[in-house]
């Protein structure tokens, strides 16, 4: 094989500062295209929603688009899109993000819009009922009306975890969504949407001094409110295997997913990175361990995937989290056989290790994925915002490809050795779509 390719790095300048009201700001200028990405990340997600209010963090995200202090309903969308931009928001386990990509001449407008809703969304009964309906349709599209809906991100956590924050359905039950009130929303905003609990980031075509002025102008008078104390969501690791199954009335074929706890992404980043690499060694492409064995050789699996975190974002999740492997099987496929074969491959990796060449090619491919994620200004803005929010280290964006590349064969071998059947939680989908 050819000489090992050098893993390149980006050199995005990263500036950070904190406004007097506690809002943290990160800027990553890059003037190669006349566009900017703007992101506001709040340190609240699915794990923080109250019992009896499953799905509330996501429902609240919808309400943040329904008008604010100076903006009528629909105004946010129209102002962003009428400036030639795109927008969205999304709710994750540990954070909620709101973002825009725009031609750079619209930067100040985006800052205005984000600051306005940071001061306070318009929470009305009418908008709440409308968005409960919209969210129910979202859940129908993504979960209830399709095969494998919510597999495994909604169906595996309750097998692996025992406490409400980690185990509950983050999309929410219709009953909980329907019983949500405007008062609940006001309280949620008051508690979690404090500017001390938020990070603003801008990436792309900006001048740091000008952008700083604009940010002070629009966010400077957002009332200071401190971040709430973040609870420790940790749970003990599994001491014996857990396995459950359910029938999916729409699924035509069997499927199964397994998860193992991994070290804390925040407190033990060095111990965590080998697991991020391991997931790719096992599952990235036809030359990966599990594809070669299960798909190409045994033919016991139709497709498979492996990743860290139930939402597949290794650098945007806190403890407790997991390494996941998921498999779709052919008709009549034997789930036990698949799990046994995966165990054998993990054991082989744990015993024999892997060569520097095998690891090197996986690391090179991971570098491509990381660099590709950040070519778009929005990808960059979101990553630096969450890195700041969770680690206070936005400049890590430039280091990730190198850090991935420094993981050693011995570290990957040791990581594989921890993925034993005794620590595994699995969920099996029994096909009920008997066509």
């Amino acid at each position: 094989m050819a000489r090992r390719i050098k893993i390149p790095a980006t050199k995005y300048p990263v500036e950070r500062f904190t406004l007097d009201n506690g809002l943290r700001v990160v800027l990553a200028p890059d003037r190669s295209a006349p566009v900017v990405g703007v992101a506001v990340v709040y340190d609240v997600g699915i794990r923080s929603e109250p019992e009896g209010r499953t799905g509330f963090a996501h429902l609240f995200e919808h309400l943040m688009f329904q008008g604010s202090e100076n903006l009528e309903k629909l105004a946010h969308f129209r102002h962003v899109q009428g400036a030639g931009g795109t927008f969205n928001g999304s709710t994750h386990l540990d954070y909620t993000d709101y973002f825009e990509t725009l031609p750079s001449g619209a930067l100040e407008r985006a800052l205005f819009l984000e600051a306005d809703r940071m001061r306070g969304p318009r929470l009305t009964e009418e908008n709440l009922r409308n968005q409960v309906d919209v969210v129910k349709e979202e859940i129908r599209v993504n979960v209830l009306n399709r095969p494998y809906g919510g597999f495994p991100w909604l169906t595996l956590p309750p097998v692996m975890f025992d406490t409400f924050p980690n185990a509950h359905d983050g999309y929410g039950s219709f009953e909980d969504l329907e019983s949500a009130t405007v008062a609940d929303a006001a309280e949620f905003f008051e508690r979690y949407y404090a500017c001390g609990n938020a990070v603003l980031s801008v990436a792309g075509d900006l001048d740091v001094a000008e952008a700083t002025e604009m940010i002070k102008r629009h966010f400077g008078d957002v009332p200071a409110r401190p971040a709430p104390a973040r609870p420790d969501f940790d749970e003990p690791d599994l001491t014996s295997e857990r396995r459950e199954s359910y029938t999916d009335r729409l699924a035509p074929l069997p499927a199964v997913a397994s998860a193992w706890r991994v070290p804390s992404p925040i407190d033990d980043f060095a111990g965590y990175l080998p697991f991020v690499v391991l997931a790719e060694v096992l599952t990235d492409g036809d030359a990966s361990r599990l594809v070669e064995r299960l798909v190409l050789r045994d033919r016991t699996v139709t497709s498979l995937g492996g990743y860290i975190g139930f939402m597949g974002e290794p650098f945007e999740v806190r403890d407790p989290t997991a390494a996941l492997l998921q498999y779709h099987l052919p008709p009549g496929g034997d789930v036990d056989k698949v799990l046994r074969a995966a165990d054998e491959e993990l054991e082989r990796l744990a015993t024999d290790g892997l060569t520097a060449a095998e690891l090197g090619r996986v690391q090179a491919r991971m570098a491509t994925h990381l660099l590709r994620d950040t070519d778009a200004v929005l990808g960059r803005a979101l990553r630096i915002a969450v890195l700041e929010e969770q680690r206070g280290e936005p400049e890590l964006i430039n280091d990730l490809p190198r850090l991935i590349g420094e993981v050693t064969p011995e570290q990957v071998r040791a990581a594989a050795a921890t993925l034993t059947p005794q620590r595994r939680a699995s969920i099996e989908v029994i096909p009920g779509g008997g066509k």
Partner: protein, 439 residues
């Protein structure tokens, strides 16, 4: 809340759209190579588009799944490992117009990824074992697709829209896939996988001349010949009764409508794009504001203009709650009718225009965005500079132009409509609005 109303900041004038320079070379074997420099990240994007019209459906699908399954020298696993070693990956997909090979790698891997691509183009072996594996996987994949409402609704719409045209059926049946043999794949490859009419687009962190030289050195010996087959024009949508496709116990109805449209180079194109945006082509459109933000019938309704080589159509999609299927259809027809019979407001037209101009600029701000656009344009015989012409048209289209385009293309009387859902619940309400036929 504060007492003083804050004012929305003005927009700074948008920079004129800055297109990266395309360098192009026609190799002696007939391959067109386009190289575009964007050095923002040290990567390259690779797209190879081959004309593939009239290829047998099941064999074409299988070819795209087994193209990387081995050559005389390399196995599936070796090909994947070689690509990975330069941070690379390649995959193939097929539609009724073309075979597309897409991938990317670290910038330093450009030569190697093209070498692997060249080996596969020249020598894909379609080994029996691997073909057998991929055949089973594709059959499973089709079976899963057939359990997805979006797939079923699309299949029904295509059948209804295209009749006997090759666009009517785009997914093979499992038994057709099961019948595919390796020798047939080798024959299809020998007949159709050639540089004539094909375009290779490279975008990334390189000097364009060197990228062209590399492509020429590596792919210049790829076997010339082959044929550029094109399809007859697709038929225009022929309106008729609403086709109800029964999906018992479905908790939503998949509403699909198709309306006539024109290709990118047609004089009505820019006006129709704007009309479609005002109607339902982006979030701040009449349709989305009505059936989502006002009535809560649906999550993500959208309307797009779909361009294929043999024809263009406006496609409307919405997944609506079963019990509001009738009302959702009513509002959809109302909004189309309003577009077709009344001119758009000045403000809403300007908003749509700015959105379109802005998103065109956002689209060419990444390597993968540029690669996608350059490849799509190349497939229509255009180059990136078409974006400048198109941008100028979008700027100058008048309200009258948009009203005329809406009347001509978006009239609800011209729509082909398919609804997939629980017929026992939706048949009666839909029948109160439109003539129906149930499948």
């Amino acid at each position: 809340m504060s007492d003083t109303k804050r004012t929305l900041p003005a927009l700074l004038p948008a920079a004129p759209i800055k297109l990266p320079t395309e360098s192009e070379r026609r190799l002696t074997n007939g391959l067109t190579v386009i190289a575009i420099r964007r050095p923002a990240v040290p990567l390259v994007e690779v797209r190879l588009r081959l004309p593939f019209a009239k290829a047998n459906l099941a064999r074409g699908a299988m070819l795209s799944h087994t193209l990387f399954s081995g050559t005389a020298e390399l196995s599936t696993v070796e090909i994947a490992a070689e690509l990975q070693s330069v941070g690379g990956g390649l995959s193939a997909s097929v539609d009724p117009d073309r075979l597309m090979i897409s991938g990317n790698s670290l910038a330093a891997g450009l030569t190697r990824i093209l070498e692997i691509l060249g080996e596969v183009l020249d020598g894909a072996a379609y080994p029996s074992d691997e073909v057998g594996t991929e055949r089973d996987r594709l059959v499973d994949h089709i079976q899963v697709a057939k359990s997805q409402p979006a797939h079923l609704a699309r299949e029904a719409l295509l059948r209804r829209l295209y009749g006997r045209h090759p666009y009517a059926v785009q997914t093979p049946e499992p038994e057709q896939v099961r019948a595919v043999r390796p020798a047939q794949l080798r024959a299809l490859h020998a007949e159709r996988v050639h540089p004539a009419g094909a375009t290779l687009v490279l975008v990334g962190d390189f000097q364009p001349k060197r990228a062209l030289d590399t492509a020429e050195a590596v792919l210049g010996s790829w076997n010339g010949g082959g044929k550029d087959v094109s399809l007859p024009n697709a038929p225009q949508p022929e309106p008729g009764p609403v086709l109800l496709v029964d999906r018992p116990d479905s908790v939503q109805s998949s509403l699909r409508m198709a309306l006539p449209a024109v290709p990118r180079t047609h004089p009505d194109h820019a006006a129709l794009q704007l009309a479609n945006l005002v109607f339902g082509g982006y979030f701040s459109s009449r349709w989305v504001e009505n059936i989502r933000e006002d009535k809560g019938y649906t999550y993500g309704p959208h309307s797009v203009i779909d361009h294929s080589a043999a024809g263009s159509v406006v496609l409307l999609s919405a997944e609506v709650a079963t019990d509001v299927t009738g009302p959702a259809l009513l509002e959809t027809v109302y909004e189309l009718g309003r577009m077709a019979t009344l001119p758009p407001g000045e403000e809403e037209l300007e908003q749509a225009r700015q959105y379109l101009l802005g998103t065109l600029m956002l689209g060419v701000s990444t390597q993968s965005g540029i690669a996608a656009l350059a490849t799509t344009y190349a497939g229509a015989g255009l180059r990136l500079d078409f974006l400048s012409d198109y941008t100028e048209q979008v700027r100058t289209v008048t309200r009258d132009d948009v009203a005329a385009a809406a009347a001509k293309y978006l009239a609800p009387s011209g729509a082909v409509t398919v609804i997939l859902g629980d017929a026992s619940k939706i048949e009666a309400p839909v029948a109160t609005l439109r003539e129906i036929e149930v499948e």
